[in-house]
């Protein structure tokens, strides 16, 4: 069938390591098929670079199905590029015009150290989860799964939140580098379910305060929602805010007491 090939001009951020200075560099990629995914276009470019003895552009990827959250870069000033609800690996070249000029830059935030080129360290997101993003249920201690009925609406909403792939695009999109959408998605997933109630208030305090050690604050721009490949709603951020305020009162250990 082969559709007519496209020519794409790519301007890519090149940076050899975390502390090295970086700069943009221009490349021409011919023979781009509209059926290629964005990462396949970069693969093609990298093959050319290697042929010309230039180091390939480093970028993270794995599943290439929009689920692992590895991929992600700024494509023409938007995390994951122009298509809504789509991770970089799921973006296809047919969404661009022939001779398009595409600029790719790594996600930027204080917490996102650049490893190399377009690859960044997003481990601060794991620190937020470690702070309380779980339900304590030691293996073997669980009662029968159908013991607690979970209303379908609750389970569905928890699932809407739980879909977050941890890509960090929300942080990258936010003018404040806030990780609110990520954190709120994690919190809502667990705070909505009956199983998550016991730790709800501790979890909220710990995750929010850990988040703030690394990331900026939400000032309700809603850029995160627009960039999120899973289209996670900012309504979950509202829920985070409410739960955090409530947790200050409900959290018995801290209420009214002066620490340490």
């Amino acid at each position: 069938m082969s559709a007519p090939k496209m020519h794409i001009k790519v301007t890519a951020w090149r940076q050899s390591g975390p502390d090295a200075p970086g700069a943009f560099k221009d490349y021409d990629v011919n023979d781009v098929s509209p059926d290629m995914s964005f990462l396949e276009m970069l693969d093609t470019l990298n093959e050319r670079l290697i042929e010309n003895n230039e180091e390939p552009i480093a970028f993270d990827h794995d599943c290439r199905e929009g689920i692992c959250g590895s991929c992600g870069m700024m494509i023409n000033g938007v995390p994951h590029g122009p298509e809504r609800g789509t991770a970089t690996c799921q973006l296809h070249m047919r969404k661009f015009n022939d001779n398009a000029h595409i600029t790719v830059e790594p996600f930027r935030a204080a917490a996102f150290t650049i490893n190399k080129d377009l690859s960044v360290d997003r481990s601060a997101l794991d620190r937020i989860v470690e702070a309380g993003g779980y339900i304590t249920a030691p293996t073997g201690s669980a009662p029968d799964a159908n013991l607690i009925p979970v209303p379908k609406a609750v389970s569905d909403t928890a699932m809407d939140a739980a879909q977050c792939i941890g890509c960090g695009a929300c942080v990258a999109a936010c003018p404040n580098s806030a990780a609110q959408l990520f954190t709120s998605a994690k919190l809502a997933h667990l705070n909505l379910l009956p199983q998550g109630q016991a730790e709800r208030w501790d979890r909220t305090i710990d995750m929010v305060e850990t988040m703030e050690m690394y990331f900026g604050s939400c000032t309700n721009f809603r850029e995160c929602e627009a960039a999120c490949p899973k289209e996670i709603s900012v309504d979950f951020i509202a829920m985070l805010n409410k739960d955090y305020v409530k947790s200050q009162l409900k959290q018995r250990r801290l209420a009214g007491q002066v620490f340490p």
Binding site: E105, R108, G216, S217
Partner: protein, 262 residues
């Protein structure tokens, strides 16, 4: 060889809970929302009260006087008014303090800016310019107080005659235009702020998310239209300036928008 550590922008400290709460950005946003509601209440009643300008000098002057008298003889004169004023000053100060510290935190959260052009998808002009609309409004409020409350910025100031003071002040084109600009900034600030409040307080529900937005738009529009109408009406001569020399105690027939012109 060591990996570089992840940059932290803030240290988590434990303190008495209201302090921990205010120290957190989410807490600060909550405080901004609550103080925002107070300021919105003020802005709305201020605007509504000023509509008396259209009635007559007497009406608005009595309104000013009535504010000092609330709540009748239960409290000494102006105590209540000052309580409200102090409350508003406190709200204003907290609102600004929270905004400034959040701004500083957010700068730290992205020390290296994007090197290519950002393309914003959802963030509205209003949202992105909150800082600047806030600064404009803040500066204007200071001038406004000096002009019409303290009177130091108004050569024709007469204590107890808000009608005269206002008309005299706003008929100066520069002041009138500054008033309009400040109110447009206020409108923009309110447009994002009024929506944002629900978000920061966590009052949301898919069922009334649209209403939230319409409320914010409606509120901002109402305030801007109401407030901007004053300088426009004065500059256009709709609100008459005919009470020169009439003692405050006496009614002035040609005042307001409906009285006769002399």
């Amino acid at each position: 060889m060591q990996r570089s550590a992840v940059t932290q922008i803030k240290v988590r400290k434990v303190a008495a809970w209201p302090i921990t709460f205010y120290r957190s950005a989410v807490g600060k946003k909550w405080v901004m929302a609550i103080t925002g509601i107070m300021l919105m209440g003020f802005v709305l009643s201020h605007m509504v009260g000023n509509l008396k300008l259209y009635l007559s000098r007497e009406e608005i002057n009595l309104y000013g006087e009535a504010l000092r008298e609330i709540p009748g003889h239960l409290l000494p004169r102006t105590v209540f008014l000052w309580t409200i004023r102090l409350g508003l000053i406190g709200a204003f100060a907290l609102h600004i303090h929270a905004a400034v510290s959040l701004t500083r935190l957010n700068r730290k959260a992205r020390p290296v800016a994007y090197q290519s052009e950002r393309d914003y998808i959802a963030a509205s002009f209003a949202a992105r310019t909150m800082r600047w609309s806030g600064v404009i409004v803040g500066l204007y409020v200071v001038f406004h107080l000096l002009d019409l409350t303290a009177g130091t910025a108004n050569p024709d100031f007469v204590r107890g005659d808000p009608y005269n003071n206002l008309v005299r002040s706003l008929e100066r084109p520069v002041v009138g235009i500054a008033y309009i600009v400040a109110n447009l900034a206020l409108g923009i600030h309110l447009f994002h702020g009024a929506w944002s409040i629900f978000q920061s307080l966590g009052v949301n529900n898919p069922r009334f998310n649209n209403a939230r937005k319409r409320f914010a738009q409606g509120f901002a529009a109402l305030i801007v239209i109401g407030n901007v109408s004053f300088p426009v009406a004065i500059l256009a001569g709709v609100i008459k300036q005919s009470c020169e020399g009439t003692p405050i105690e006496e009614p002035c027939a040609g005042s307001g928008a409906f009285g006769e012109k002399n």
